[in-house]
């Protein structure tokens, strides 16, 4: 009785996860990573004004970007789990709530959601900008994660559920001890992909005056007029961070699918 090849869910909004087959010395990932690293170092060494100045101006922005990304991804993981479970629930009310949530959030652009939560809702109750950013990112990405969870759970053969039930597990025990651990193998790679997409989307929070990397870059550019240099540097930094993360996701993917 062979193991069925695990279902692979492709989410196409992240950086290119390097494939196993890319085993030559020159790969797209290596060119991008070492190229951008060399470019950043080279620019700072040979033209410290303004490139080194920019690099010294933005570190707190990088920290804020990371903070927003990491907190949002952890929170949206749990929101996604609840949403996914809600969407496959037999309980009509829970199912409707989860499905409506997903429909609405996937129908409104993230930028509009950010504006809405911070400025519109914020006119009734005071919402600090950092909190509003995390709230908006969590709500938005929770909906997408919910779909990933649902697909992962549904991909597990019904035979597993039958076997667990016949062994005496109840529904909740089946889900948490049998189904979810197996579904994780399918779910975690696309979650990694969403992590990378979320990091890039945090550039949108600069609109609600959160001092992230892009905002710091814009503040520097508008007071010194070095537009080209600033945005070159900001783009390279985002690229570097994204490439490092996509490497981690690729390693995790390898560990998750040992049968391929």
């Amino acid at each position: 009785m062979g193991e069925k090849a695990p279902v692979k869910i492709e989410v196409t909004d992240g950086a290119a996860i390097p494939e196993e087959k890319d085993s030559g010395l020159i790969t797209a990932w290596r060119i991008s990573f070492f190229g951008s690293l060399a470019l950043i170092i080279g620019l700072c060494v040979f033209k410290p004004d303004p490139y080194l100045e920019i690099l010294e101006f933005v570190p707190d922005g990088i920290r804020v970007t990371f903070e927003v990304t990491i907190i949002s991804i952890v929170l949206s993981f749990f929101v996604g789990l609840l949403t996914g479970l809600g969407r496959i629930s037999k309980n009509r009310v829970i199912n409707l709530i989860a499905s409506t949530y997903v429909e609405i959030i996937r129908g409104i652009p993230l930028l509009v959601q950010l504006f809405y939560i911070y400025y519109a809702v914020g006119s009734f109750t005071r919402i600090p900008p950092f909190f509003a950013a995390i709230l908006a990112m969590t709500i938005c990405y929770g909906a997408y994660m919910g779909e990933v969870f649902r697909a992962g759970i549904e991909s597990i053969d019904y035979g597993q559920t039958e076997a667990a039930l016949s062994l005496g597990f109840n529904k909740r025990q089946t889900m948490f001890y049998v189904i979810l651990p197996q579904a994780m193998r399918t779910i975690l790679p696309p979650v990694g992909n969403e992590f990378i997409a979320l990091l890039k989307d945090t550039s949108l929070v600069s609109i609600i005056a959160v001092a992230d990397l892009l905002r710091r870059g814009r503040e520097y550019a508008t007071s010194t007029f070095h537009y080209f240099e600033t945005f070159t540097m900001v783009a390279l930094i985002y690229l570097l961070i994204t490439l490092v993360l996509s490497k981690f996701v690729s390693i995790m993917e390898k560990k998750m699918t040992p049968y391929e």
């Binding site: 400025y119 914020g122 006119s123 005056a209 814009r218 007029f225 537009y227």
Partner: protein
Amino acid sequence: MLKKVFLLFMVFCCVASTAMAKKRVIVFAVDATWPPMEFVNAKKQIVGFSIDYMTAAGRLAGFIPVFKNVAWDGIFAGLAGGNYDAICSSVSITEERKKTMDFSIPYYKVRQALVVPVNSKAKTLKDLIGKKVGAQIGTTGYFAIQRVKGVIPKSYDEIGLAMQDLINGNLAGVVCDDPVAANYSRQKKGFKEKLKIASIIETGKAEYYGIAVKKGNKAVLDLINKGIRLVKEKGIDKQLIKKWIK
């Protein structure tokens, strides 16, 4: 038949070229989110003090002004890139800016004002040390906040967003040009009840608005300067101040 059409076309070209040769079109970039100097009215037209000023200048100096709505954040980059001829957007003349663009003669004297919630006790920026004060990104208001050590500057894409944040309670104050501050704290419904001008920030140096053109663009600059001079001679600028800036 073809000959007649050809002749008619030549006549049209002569007439049209003499008509077109009369007035040069100057395209102005405007960040129309800065009431009452330049903003978009309910009919989606760009209106305001600067718009009327440049229209009058054009009429007197002999150019046709065309106004394009452009976001403030990239407005200087667009000028350097040649997307438009000039910027008419309450741009204060500063030494920094003079390095990358040319300015016309000043057309309005402006000062920075500090706007605070109506029940705030702060009088100057120094009273707000340790608190967050907002301004539009890349404006002299933002630079004024940065000059006072200890105040946390927050930059916004548009001054309206900063004002909204001020009444939402996320900021202790907003610094912007005094006509805009007056507009929000005295005229705008929803804002005027909650805001007041705490003080005018004195920097010792006078600050003026100028029209910015690409470095070296003498032709457009001369036309604009001629227009501004004529408007000042005829006293139209005083009428406009009475009309727009109460």
